[in-house]
């Protein structure tokens, strides 16, 4: 990652994230059919397609405003709990981020955004949720790890939700039967972390 994120291409990030979610929508929905209500992929695709449709408008805004607007858009379009969760993440990230963040400012804003997700979902680490990816990524960011390593941390963290028992969300209704399946929100979080890391890495 570059020392400053000032020059990052918001439009390119939106395009890349929307393409990733679109390509994995069926996979995410399959994961959600196993332990949730089977709509995560479609819901995320609806939200990110809405961001894609506004990519130019988002790119015209300063970074903090673009993040807040993107978060609000997800809240209004996703239609499931992942709307407020991913939306809150982006809105908090925008709120905490200076217009031209350096790496430490980005890591600090990311940490606060993860806290906002935990508050929104009334959840914590180890409950088989997206937080189980976001916390390790937060720590890797704070430790100054390079992009490729952060993406790998996210993938491994999503994989680590497989043996967990779900304690929040619809999957928690299944109790022990949620064990053995990857958490869909962790998978989508890891996919997005990898996409953002690779996009920023390629433009560094």
């Amino acid at each position: 990652m570059t020392d400053t994120l000032a020059s990052l291409d918001i439009r390119q990030l939106v395009l890349a994230c929307a393409a990733t979610i679109s390509a994995h929508a069926d996979e995410l929905t399959s994961l959600d059919q196993a332990i949730g209500d089977g709509d995560h992929g479609y819901n995320m695709k609806r939200g990110f397609d809405a961001l894609l449709a506004e990519a130019d408008a988002l790119a015209a805004k300063p970074l903090p405003d673009a993040l807040k607007a993107a978060g609000t858009k997800l809240v209004m379009t996703v239609g499931g709990a992942s709307g407020p969760l991913f939306g809150t993440f982006l809105m908090a990230l925008g709120k905490e981020m200076p217009a031209s963040p350096g790496r430490p400012e980005f890591a600090a804003a990311f940490a606060k955004a993860v806290d906002a997700v935990a508050a929104r979902g009334k959840s914590e680490a180890g409950q088989k949720t997206m937080l189980d990816v976001l916390y390790p990524v937060r720590d890797a960011l704070a430790a100054g790890k390079p992009e490729a390593e952060i993406a790998a941390v996210a993938d491994a963290a999503a994989e680590a939700t497989v043996p967990m028992k779900a304690l929040r969300g619809r999957a928690s209704f299944l109790g022990e039967r949620s064990i053995g399946h990857m958490d869909p929100g962790s998978r989508s979080s890891a996919l997005l972390v990898r996409t953002v890391a690779e996009t920023l890495g390629a433009t560094a």
């Binding site: 209500d37 709509d39 609806r46 609000t72 499931g80 709990a81 407020p84 939306g87 929104r120 619809r170």
Partner: protein, 128 residues
């Protein structure tokens, strides 16, 4: 003015049917609104629809929201936050079964109970 009731379900049919039951049992003395379905009309909930429903059932005495499953709760809490103050502090998302909660809360509200009393009545249906 009586406390308003908002019913938020993943299914518009469940939400509308619950509202029908409230109307039949409690009458028209309680501001009542419902919504259900995601922004495309499939099963799910929509923050925008919830915000509109709160507006339709608005009462200066407050609004109690009854929800079905997780996403309906999270999206309702998000809607309350986006509505913001001064209204937000007069809106409560109840922890109660949606049908029984809506009927009991509306019954309590129709007698002129405060928001706190209405919410407490709904919560009695979900022992911690």
């Amino acid at each position: 003015m009586n406390v308003g009731i908002v019913i938020v379900s993943h299914s518009p049919k469940v939400a509308e049917g619950t509202a029908d039951m409230v109307r039949q049992m409690v009458g028209d003395e309680v501001p009542l609104a419902w919504c259900g379905g995601n922004p495309e009309g499939g099963l799910g909930t929509s923050v925008g629809d919830i915000m509109e429903a709160i507006g339709r059932a608005w009462s200066e005495a407050g609004v109690a929201i009854l929800v079905d499953l997780g996403g309906a709760e999270t999206n309702s809490e998000m809607a309350v936050e986006m509505i913001g103050e001064p209204r937000a502090k007069k809106i409560v998302v109840c922890n109660a079964p949606i049908v029984e909660g809506a009927v009991m809360a509306a019954t309590e509200a129709s007698g002129g109970a405060t928001l706190r009393e209405v919410v407490a009545t709904a919560h009695e249906l979900s022992p911690a």
